[in-house]
Amino acid sequence: MSGDDLVEVRGTLDGEPYHAEVPVWASLLDALEAAGRPLPAGCRGGQCGSCTVSLDGVPTPACVVPAGAAAGAVVETARRAALPVLVAELAAAGATQCGYCSPGLVVALSHLLSTSPSLDAPAVREALTGHLCRCTGYEAIVTATLAAAARLTS
């Protein structure tokens, strides 16, 4: 493929500029990998949530976003979007086992805690829809998220 066949994507990743050149059909997930910042890639169909990032403040699976659509966008991974209190509670509850799904669900749950500090278990489970975890059975994740919410509101 010649250089002319590539789309140039520039944006902000975790507070720093990034740049990638990818095919016109590539996703944001592909662009981040090309930029040297690969995310956990699962289904590549928007079903598993492992590649979820904060895209202009909204949790979004990077695999369903065309790379060109993310040009100029502010992208944050769990590295920057994670709430420390949530990470601490997930660790304390043993809610991370293999860890493959953790970055994506941490982005989604941090957004949930930031926008809806008063939470109940159904709201947490709703936010976890689209995040597949094959290890934990989700209960520890729900418990940890509610504990984080309690700490944030206390």
């Binding site: 002319d4 066949d5 590539l6 789309v7 095919p23 016109v24 059909w25 590539a26 996703s27 590549r44 169909g45 928007g46 079903q47 949530g49 979820t52 909204v58 949790p59 979004t60 699976p61 695999c63 369903v64 976003v65 065309p66 790379a67 060109g68 659509a69 040009a71 989604a108 709703e126 936010a127 829809t129 689209g130």
Partner: protein
């Protein structure tokens, strides 16, 4: 190769005229996975997601017009269609993160188009336009593939219902394919209903006027009409679709009819 992301509907129409074979993308939640899987390898992509004038929701009397890139979640939050119309459907459509990106209009170009059954019951029309023509034309929401090569869908026109109900059959409540769905609405112009073909996901509109839907005692008659339109292939499927229809009828007449994605197997 080009990735075009126009900022206005007018510039999108001009781009479409220049590149009629470009892959059109709204939220990307359906076409990007297809590109990831190698099922689509477009030479050019026309991305409508950045249209500044494409996300408006405008109410006019008993109708609502939605721009071409109104996101599914945004439409639900706006409640422009009346409280509850989209609530139930949203619980049965994809995941929260995907709903934030997916567009109502874009869904009509997918197979199956999960939202077509609801939009059909709401007397929905797809609004199409081309750079070369002065006006707009309207198509049934189930005929998105009838657009001319230089046309784009630039919005949706829907009725605001006095009552609405939606029932869906799936193996689980979220992130599972719809086996069958029924939507029913009481509109100013008369009652309307729509039903998917069982398992096919293709919306099959019932007759425009559905007298039994307006009749509080007509649940069985309404169910019979819905089953006839859906043509379910087995006795189990017929019973399932009839149950969905009766539940819709009950909700319409209970006075608190809201879309609801109850799942029963």
């Amino acid at each position: 190769m080009a990735y075009l992301r126009p900022a206005t509907i007018a510039s999108a129409l001009a781009a479409r005229a220049e590149l009629p074979r470009a892959l059109v993308c709204g939220g990307g939640t359906a076409v990007q996975p297809a590109m990831n899987a190698g099922l689509l390898r477009p030479a050019d992509v026309l991305d409508l997601g950045g249209l500044r004038d494409g996300a408006a929701i405008d109410a006019c009397g008993d109708r609502v017009r939605l721009g071409p890139v109104v996101r599914v979640a945004a439409a639900a939050r706006a409640h422009a269609l009346g409280a509850g119309v989209l609530d139930g459907l949203l619980r049965g459509f994809a995941t929260p993160a995907v709903r934030e990106r997916a567009t109502l209009t874009g869904n009509l170009f997918q197979a199956p188009a999960d939202l077509a059954v609801v939009l059909t019951a709401l007397d929905g029309s797809l609004i199409a336009a081309a750079a070369r023509s002065r006006g707009e034309r309207r198509l049934p929401v189930t005929t998105a593939d009838a657009l001319e090569p230089d046309e784009l869908a630039i919005g949706l026109d829907l009725a605001v219902p006095a009552a609405f109900a939606y029932e869906r059959l799936a193996v689980r409540e979220v992130a599972a394919p719809t086996l069958a769905a029924v939507a029913a609405a009481l509109l100013a112009g008369g009652p309307r209903a729509a039903v998917t073909g069982y398992r096919t996901g293709t919306a099959v509109p019932c007759p425009g006027a559905v007298p039994h839907l307006a009749d509080p005692a007509g649940a069985d008659g309404f169910a019979a009409e819905v089953v006839a339109a859906a043509a379910p292939p087995t006795p189990y499927a017929r019973r399932s679709v009839a149950a969905l229809a009766r539940r819709c009828h009950r909700r319409i007449h209970r006075g608190d009819a809201r879309g609801d994605a109850d799942v029963r197997r």
